[in-house]
Symmetry: C2
Subunit: 307 residues, 2 copies
């Protein structure tokens, strides 16, 4: 089933304890589409780029089944740019530079040909822009998944809370779940957040894996223990792409299949961090993905005979 993705397509400059990148391709919608395209096609992208965004990157997305009719190209402007430096633990980062450029006055327009999308991924972006995309859909999609971040909780909480009433699944990290709910315990935070609208909450915990909450149920997914995390940039978006890609490809919204989607997302994120930027996500094959999912099963599988 067709998947609509909204989010940034951008340039990043990244410093980690292992090295430093030049200005490389990034953006939430880029990572989401690259990741999801392994599971579902077509993907219908809504975004904005400047004239500096490389044609070959657009071509690669199209080759992967990503439609770009909803991507505005502002030839005389520059693409969104973010520069950041990660701490040793790779969980914290400092923003060194943010240049909104084309994003400053972005008004998303959903083409008519996108109206058949039953799955919607609202990538991390200003909540009012995410909401605008949702409002342009004439039919309520089968599943709306939303990513957001602490920045919007600090600067646009009323818009964010209004949007939350209309989404099915919220993806946030642990500190964001705590900030949004004003609860320290993640179990309590989940109850508070699910009362705000989302029926499902996914809490991403980086190297500690992810949690899925729904009603009174909870599922815990591991992260793959890695020798090195080279660059966590885009890992959350890559997770989101795998998660919604699996759901859109199977069309099965049962809790059991949500669990599977969390594992697919975790497997995709485990590739993303192995190299800088989108490098690793672009080069992996379906066989690599299947093997990695098998490793996740090995990682948590146990078979205890109760005493």
């Amino acid at each position: 089933m067709a998947l609509l993705v909204v989010g940034t397509m951008a340039f990043d400059a990244i410093e980690t304890p292992f090295g430093k990148s030049d200005r490389i391709i990034g953006g939430a919608a880029t990572y989401i589409a690259l990741s999801a395209s392994n599971f579902v096609q077509p993907i219908k992208q809504v975004s904005v780029v400047g004239g500096d965004f490389p044609q070959e990157e657009l071509d690669e997305l199209q080759n992967r089944g990503v439609e770009l009719g909803g991507v505005q190209i502002k030839k005389d402007q520059k693409s969104f740019f973010w520069a950041g430096r990660y701490h040793l633990d790779m969980n914290e980062r400092d923003t060194l530079d943010t240049q909104l450029n084309v994003l400053a006055d972005f008004i998303p327009v959903v083409p008519d040909s996108y109206q058949d999308c039953e799955f919607v991924m609202l990538g991390n972006l200003m909540p009012s822009i995410q909401h605008s995309v949702l409002r342009q859909l004439k039919k309520r999609p089968k599943l709306v998944v939303m990513d957001t971040m602490n920045f919007w909780m600090d600067s646009a909480m009323p818009d964010l809370k209004e949007l939350l009433k209309h989404v099915d699944v919220l993806l946030v990290n642990d500190s964001e779940a705590r900030q949004l709910s004003a609860q320290y315990s993640l179990v309590k935070a989940a109850k508070h957040i699910m009362a705000m609208g989302p029926k499902y909450l996914v809490v991403k915990k980086g190297e500690h894996g992810a949690l899925l909450f729904h009603e009174d149920k909870v599922f815990v997914a591991p992260a793959l223990p890695l020798e090195e995390v080279f660059d966590p940039t885009g890992a959350g978006d890559t997770f989101a792409g795998g998660f919604i890609g699996h759901l859109a490809s199977t069309g099965d919204l049962s809790f059991n299949n949500m669990k599977n989607a969390i594992i697919v997302g975790s497997a995709m994120a485990s590739f993303c961090v192995e190299k800088f930027g989108t490098t690793r996500i672009k080069e992996i094959s379906k066989e690599d993905i299947q093997r990695r999912i098998g490793q996740f099963a090995e990682l948590v599988n146990f078979d205890i005979k109760l005493i």
Copy 2:
């Protein structure tokens, strides 16, 4: 198969964000024995207490199959005492007071009747004392599991490294694994530590679960997501008791059964934190434990059809 446990039996005074305890029963060997006694008997305890240690606590241990012939009672002295305050995240704590008392000149003596123990749990204690117990055993036990902490890495690293050559399984938390190995990546830390002696490394990560490393294999166990962690004191010891209790009860040292032992340890620890001190560990039944282990299976179980 009989289990030998060495460690402290003591008093604790605990402050958490949820409350404050008076002087209550604690000590690594107390928690280990209470936890392990659900799975294996007899347990043969090596420790030291003062005349202030309550007779009813000794009686309760004996009723649970814990032999106390190796527990020295120094009637005119006081038991070891520790007071601490936990931070909001429950992972960090400040020591407010430490009174060594009977521990200051403790020389462990292993009774002849303990020589049949095939399983040995070296609870967190000065490495030279742990080593002394091991040296007194005439026959190499089937399995030696050791717990330790950052305090001994700071103050007794040479003794600790010498002892590591003689243990099969080391239990530490994530920051201790990093300190011991001087490696940030836990995968690299595990390789370094397994080169020091232990064939297995268990890394405890509190609310983020636990990792088991052996050769090139790795297993990830979740922690049970809880509404509240009231008091983490003793959770690591309770984990250790469940872990070695399961191994001693089954006698099976395969990697698959080590995984099961990690789950049993995790289940026991999840009870420990629900109330202050040893309260919860004392009141749970075998049925409670079986049900909790079942919850762990539910928590991580997934069944994905590969694409």
